[in-house]
Symmetry: C2
Subunit: 224 residues, 2 copies
DNA sequence: ACGTCCATCTCGAGT
DNA sequence: ACTCGAGGTGGACGT
């Protein structure tokens, strides 16, 4: 890892062309050749960058200014003109042990699979990831009367989740073995527009309390 | 901007929880309070981070190890334990003049607006960004028989683009002035699943050749 | 402020 | 290798 602070101008050409006028920025050069150009604002996304695999050629521009020419795999190029280098240091970081994530939608799905009755009175699980031609339905259940219920689970319930469940229901209701199939749209939070669309299509909405579900969960079943 | 290289452990708690074991990493602290933790690989996305607005409290852990506690707006927290600091420098970058971008979907829309007949024989443009209650239709056209045609343009044609066009068509076909309105889904590349869905809904697909369109384009109309 | 949609998206899982 | 869906998506542009 090499960290450089410099007055620089950056030009990218690839899927699009992008230009950064001369200014002071931080340039991060990773060991895999990738380059990130950061300013002192914005979010985690660099102003300009080159993803690996790529390589850097250090040279000099026609005006005698130091220049880095980064070339990516699809002929993408990133050209960095270094007018003035204010800082330059290299660091051996070693290999990172990596990020450990815990749960989002998957965990929510596990919890709801264990406690389907929290979605609707008398609901029982048929199976998780119920396969269809256009993808798996998160939970396939049966209600107290033995009718099929398809459940789509999202962390945040938005309009595209309703569209997705609608497609599943459309397909599932063509199957004489299953029909009639109704839908439940389950999420920790359901946006008003999604709720309106769901209701309009006869899909029930269920707001789930993640923490409450975790409380119901038996911790002895898990390792963490 | 402050750049720190340190052996550190990082824990995030917010929408999810994520843990980084003790290892050497680069920590970037921007002036707006945001923090980025980078390793020597991956792409431009940090291993862990906190987006602005947020603030950092520098303290000491129970074991007497320096600790940064970053708190975000939704109660998100990022805790960084600094076991050993290998580098620490601060830099005044000033305000960045910002990135200038050119091209992609917008340009494609301009080109197709100039050459609608490449989408379908005899097609003529009515207007770009044709307004509807649920958003603008990319191109509203008329075919050789004078019937309305709504065109949705994407760089890559995926399923959600078909959904989008479907919603437009559903709405447009309620308008007695316009109906019947048919749809064309135009993209540089159309995914098989998107094509299947479009065909099933009676929407035509058009694969557009960006470079060929650029060739047809009159360069004297542009500045670049 | 919220909603919608694009992105040099990135990233991971499944086929 | 490719495809598909999710993201602590981020960011721009509209109402």
């Amino acid at each position: 890892m090499r960290l450089v602070v410099a007055r620089c101008q950056v030009d990218y050409a690839g899927r699009l062309t992008a230009h950064l006028p001369m200014a002071t920025r931080v340039i991060m050069r990773k060991n895999d050749g990738s380059v990130l150009v950061h300013s002192d604002g914005g979010s985690y996304k660099p102003l300009n960058w080159m993803s690996p695999p790529c390589k850097v050629a250090e040279g000099t521009s026609e005006e005698g200014v130091p220049e880095w020419l980064v070339t990516g795999k699809d002929g993408d190029t990133l050209r960095i003109l270094l007018e003035e280098v204010l800082h330059d240091s290299a660091h051996d970081l070693g290999v990172d042990p990596g990020l450990q994530k815990d749960g989002v939608e998957k965990h929510l799905q596990e919890l709801l699979a264990e406690h389907p009755a929290t979605l609707a009175e008398g609901l029982t699980l048929v199976r998780r990831e119920f396969p269809t031609a256009i993808g798996p339905v998160d939970l396939m259940c049966r209600d107290a009367e033995g009718r099929s219920v398809a459940v789509e689970i999202k962390r945040r319930g938005e309009i595209d989740g309703v569209e997705q469940l609608t497609r599943y229901l459309e397909l599932l209701n063509r199957d004489p073995q299953l029909r009639p199939v109704r839908g439940i749209f389950a999420a920790q939070e359901i946006k008003p527009q999604a709720r309106v669309l769901a209701t309009d299509r006869g899909i029930a909405c269920a707001v789930v309390d993640y923490d409450a579900l975790r409380g119901m969960d038996d911790p002895t079943e898990r390792l963490f």
